[in-house]
């Protein structure tokens, strides 16, 4: 009796290109394309080898590194929970924003803040070929902004940030899908914008792979720090990972005269034991860093 150790391959032809198979593995295919690609991969010996070899490598590196797109029902449930939780938090307490320490930690981890290699900035050139004045730092700032505003259902507030983000990603080259996601989010109605908050975190992880991670992390950290100072979230400053980002940036230096000074100011005003006496000036120090880096 033949065992199912073999497979009746049907050599269907019209194989998807490697990037489509990769997008399938990353869970980034459009919902309508997924069944077609799954069906092809299951029957085509060559595509199955590409698929299983890629998954096998990712598993061997780190099982948790394999993309984990959520099934539609879970995404819907999570969206409902997030939106409801956001509304409850917003109404029940001031400040209204979600705990910045939570999302900046996610962003920093996803963007690989802990062992950032020397990584070139992805193509930031306009159509003329001249370097674009934007940077990964600004992308980081916008990601946190867009995340926070989407989280609390502020579609009108999120819209300009998302459009700016889309424009930056367009300039970066080969980030069209990510830019489209931002444009799609910018058109979301207030009741639907909350669903894009977790996608901003995923986007940060994705971009962290292609941008100068240090700049991206520093940008998201600076904006989250400003929000934490404004909201007097002491836990953000108690988190050793946030302090580590500051220390790394201080040690690296050379951010530019204004930015270096602003960073030193942030360090000087960094709350000790969660007790900052002058939250507004700490927020100003972060603001100065943002102003110095984002032009």
């Amino acid at each position: 009796v033949p065992r199912l150790d073999w497979w009746p391959d049907d050599e269907p032809g019209d194989c998807p290109d490697p990037e489509t198979v990769a997008a399938f593995i990353d869970g980034r295919l459009a919902a309508g394309d997924r069944p077609r690609v799954a069906g092809h991969v299951s029957g085509c010996p060559r595509c199955y080898e590409v698929f299983s070899g890629t998954v096998d490598f990712q598993e061997a590196q780190d099982p948790s590194a394999v993309a984990k797109p959520y099934p539609p029902w879970l995404a819907l449930a999570a969206t409902i929970v997030l939106v409801v939780a956001g509304i409850v938090l917003f109404r029940a307490s001031r400040p209204a924003l979600p705990e910045p320490g939570r999302y900046i930690a996610s962003l920093a981890e996803l963007a690989g803040a802990t062992d950032a290699p020397a990584w070139p900035v992805v193509a930031f050139r306009g159509a003329s070929g001249e370097p674009h004045p934007a940077s990964a730092f600004e992308v980081g700032v916008l990601l946190v902004d867009a995340h926070a505003l989407a989280f609390r259902g502020d579609a009108a507030g999120a819209q300009p940030r998302l459009l700016r983000l889309a424009a930056l990603l367009d300039e970066a080259g080969f980030l069209g899908a990510q830019a489209d996601l931002c444009r799609e989010a910018s058109r979301a109605a207030p009741e639907a914008i909350g669903a894009y908050a977790p996608r901003m975190v995923t986007l940060a992880g994705d971009l962290g792979e292609r941008f100068d991670r240090r700049e991206l992390v520093l940008g998201s950290w600076a904006e989250a720090g400003r929000r934490a100072a404004v909201g007097r979230h002491a836990s953000f400053f108690d988190d050793s990972r946030q302090r580590a980002i500051l220390d790394e940036a201080l040690a690296r230096g050379r951010l530019g005269a204004d930015a270096d000074a602003a960073l030193a100011d942030v360090a000087a005003r960094w709350p000790k034991d969660g007790a900052a006496h002058d939250w507004p000036r700490l927020a100003d120090a972060f603001g100065a860093l943002l102003g110095a880096k984002v032009r």
Partner: protein, 276 residues
């Protein structure tokens, strides 16, 4: 403004990704039990391929997936091309891969080179200095799927070719077995066609590769608990579809068994002799 103001060239992207590229190449060669010499040749050929035509592969990347997954998938493609160059269309069976490099080498000799078992064992012991006895190698061969290499010969040569067996009973038994195999293969093909593409993929990962439910769930972004139930359902559906087509219950159960044989137990594996 970033301190790294310059746009990375495809070359810079290649250099930045070189550690990943090398890791993927080595892992893939190990996975297929490629000898060290061949693995080194593959790694060199891969790098040349990636820098060819001004890094055309990297320039083609559109950002529809992560860069690392894209490069890993591209390397798998190149690896299959490399195997074509190395082995022709022959591929080790999943079972041989599970059993290790000696099994892969033995299977290649038996199917691609079409050597008799005794000669293959002798070659492994003498030329390749495999520290296994002939009995152990024969036991290993018994665990491999029974596959036949596709051979082309002139009619004159075929006329002069002696029958591989002189026993009529053996011929009848083999003919019966082949008929059963063809019938079950056809039924299996039809039964699989009734499943959704994703269900077929889940089933293939589980029964052919022996992937755990947790690993499949991670790879396809599914929730493990519901995947476990789904896999059970898929197996039930497939079983019913095969039974409806007249396949005996005992044969169906054996067909859907988990593909990890106990050591030393010879299992008859058959596979379509399509040379793949």
């Amino acid at each position: 403004m970033s301190e790294h103001g310059a746009t990375p060239t495809p070359e810079q992207v290649f250099l930045a990704q070189l550690p990943l590229i090398e890791r993927v190449a080595r892992h893939t060669c190990r996975r297929h039990h490629l000898p060290v010499q061949d693995a080194e040749e593959f790694e060199s050929a891969l790098k040349l391929k990636l820098i060819a035509d001004d890094y055309a592969v990297i320039r083609k990347f559109q950002g529809r997936s992560s860069l690392s997954t894209f490069l890993t998938a591209v390397i798998q493609h190149f690896f299959l091309d490399f195997l074509d160059h190395l082995w022709g269309r022959w591929r080790p069976s999943a079972q041989a891969r599970r059993l290790g490099p000696v099994a892969v080498e033995l299977e290649r000799m038996l199917t691609a080179d079409d050597l008799p078992l005794g000669e293959a064992c002798e070659l492994l012991r003498t030329n390749r200095r495999i520290g296994m006895s002939t009995d152990e190698l024969e036991a290993l061969a018994a665990l491999l799927p029974a596959r036949t290499a596709r051979r082309f010969a002139s009619e004159e040569a075929l006329v002069g070719l002696a029958s591989p067996t002189d026993h009529a009973d053996d011929l009848v038994e083999r003919s019966e077995r082949d008929r059963l195999r063809s019938r079950i293969e056809a039924a299996l093909g039809r039964a699989l066609a009734e499943l959704s593409g994703e269900d077929r993929l889940i089933l293939r990962m589980n029964v052919q590769e022996g992937q755990t439910v947790a690993a499949i769930a991670r790879a396809l972004g599914l929730e493990p608990k519901s995947l476990y139930r789904r896999l059970e359902q898929v197996r039930r559906d497939l079983r019913e579809a095969l039974l409806r087509q007249g396949v005996r219950a005992g044969d169906v159960d054996e067909l859907l068994e988990t593909p990890t044989p106990p050591p030393g137990r010879p299992i008859l594996h058959t596979r379509p002799s399509n040379g793949v």
